[in-house]
Symmetry: D2
Subunit: 143 residues, 4 copies
């Protein structure tokens, strides 16, 4: 497998099991070693008490993009911490895209930046996540 094929295989494997991301209607649009781009449409069921997209949904989209990106090397990694700045509200009907990009790759811990934009290209949130590598492969043997 090329690194690009491995990245795609890892994300496909995760997505197949990821009920939460699929339940929210996320679509993986692109993958590469250390990066992933994921989209979702904001539905009425994602609105908070103010009628705008719940910040938790924006975080979840960014967190999924981060999780996919940090697992593209076939080294099982989990989120240790994350922070998010909410820059602009998102509305029901908006299509949001989260682009996760590796900022630093360490042996045991790595840092990823995620930008969440709307269809007009405006930045809705910026997210930074730290992953911890568990030191074993993600893909089942024989994949």
């Amino acid at each position: 497998m090329t690194p690009e094929e491995r990245a795609a295989a890892c994300v496909a494997h995760m997505l197949a099991e990821d009920d939460a991301s699929r339940a929210l209607g996320m679509t993986v649009e692109a993958t590469a070693p250390g990066s992933a781009r994921v989209s979702l449409d904001v539905t009425r069921a994602m609105a908070n008490g103010f009628g705008i997209c719940h910040g938790g949904i924006i975080f979840t989209l960014a967190d999924s993009a981060f999780a996919f990106a940090c697992n593209t090397y076939d080294e099982l990694s989990v989120a240790a911490a994350a922070s998010i700045e909410f820059l602009k509200s998102a509305n029901v009907g908006d299509r949001l895209t989260a682009t996760a990009q590796e900022r630093q790759r360490g042996k045991r811990s790595s840092v990823y930046d995620v930008s969440v934009t709307n269809a007009a290209g405006e930045e809705v949130a910026v997210f930074r996540g730290r992953s911890a590598s568990l030191g074993r492969p993600l893909l089942p043997r024989g994949s």
Copy 2:
């Protein structure tokens, strides 16, 4: 209204509109000025690619508790930023409780701490959020 009654009225008003929190099955267990406690049961639809509760769901629970707590004074407030440390994984079937407590209340910006625990009382995540006040009441006139 007493401050406690106002806090309860604000949270009830928000929850009635908060499709996202209700869609996830969140229950508001307690409110007071500057604080809120919210629970949810982790369902299979909340599992991520590793079969454990998606970090975004844990964040969303904490973020809802934060949003309720920072709106208990009937001053409309929104989340500006938040950070989360994931301390322990949560499993399908776990009941998670997020307790949000005001750390500092400013005129325009406030800080809240949220602790997310499981039924055994173990801390699953710690969350810190910063809210921005919009300078107008939350409750409709006449409430």
Copy 3:
């Protein structure tokens, strides 16, 4: 004044008063509206208990670059919050450069990203800061 001249005047005004930045030997290398680049040499007095540059010094350098950058519009702004990821240790003798860039400019609150690099161009830390505008000019009248 052009925006570039205003940015330079604001930073010069701040630096003249900023004993802490000058005591650490910081040099402002560049300014523009919404950005600033600041350097310092890591001295023995900046080493921590492990003989490497104290993380607080790296933070302080980044925080100064952030403070300069968010005050380049002649609107008095202060730091409300910041986070830092330490990516690589810095040694006594290293020259560190912090480059602060506006990520989003709001009416009352703005977000800045800062990258701290060593002379080899390696990223030592990434920093994200949120500023609060106090709603009055930075420069004294007549400037």
Copy 4:
């Protein structure tokens, strides 16, 4: 050695080498397994461009308390990341105290909370740090 003696020995060992903390006049007031309390007096040389204590100094005090606290088990640990919320400004002449407390201790990564207060007991900043254990002792053999 009791755990309390070990904590004190670790912090004494670090402080002896920690030129940065000593250069700023920090005093270690208390140590225990997983915690440390450190103070400093804000001097004119710590003032920023607005004549108040530079946020970097407040961070550095909190970061030192965190570094001491996370090394009290004689397991060498370094800061991986930290975030700070600035709640109240500190002035030249103020005595600041940072109290670091373990929030969660993991095998490879731990979380600490630090509160920075002034002499009136007002909270100046809250800090949260994540440490990484390097898997070897802090104290030299024979200590």
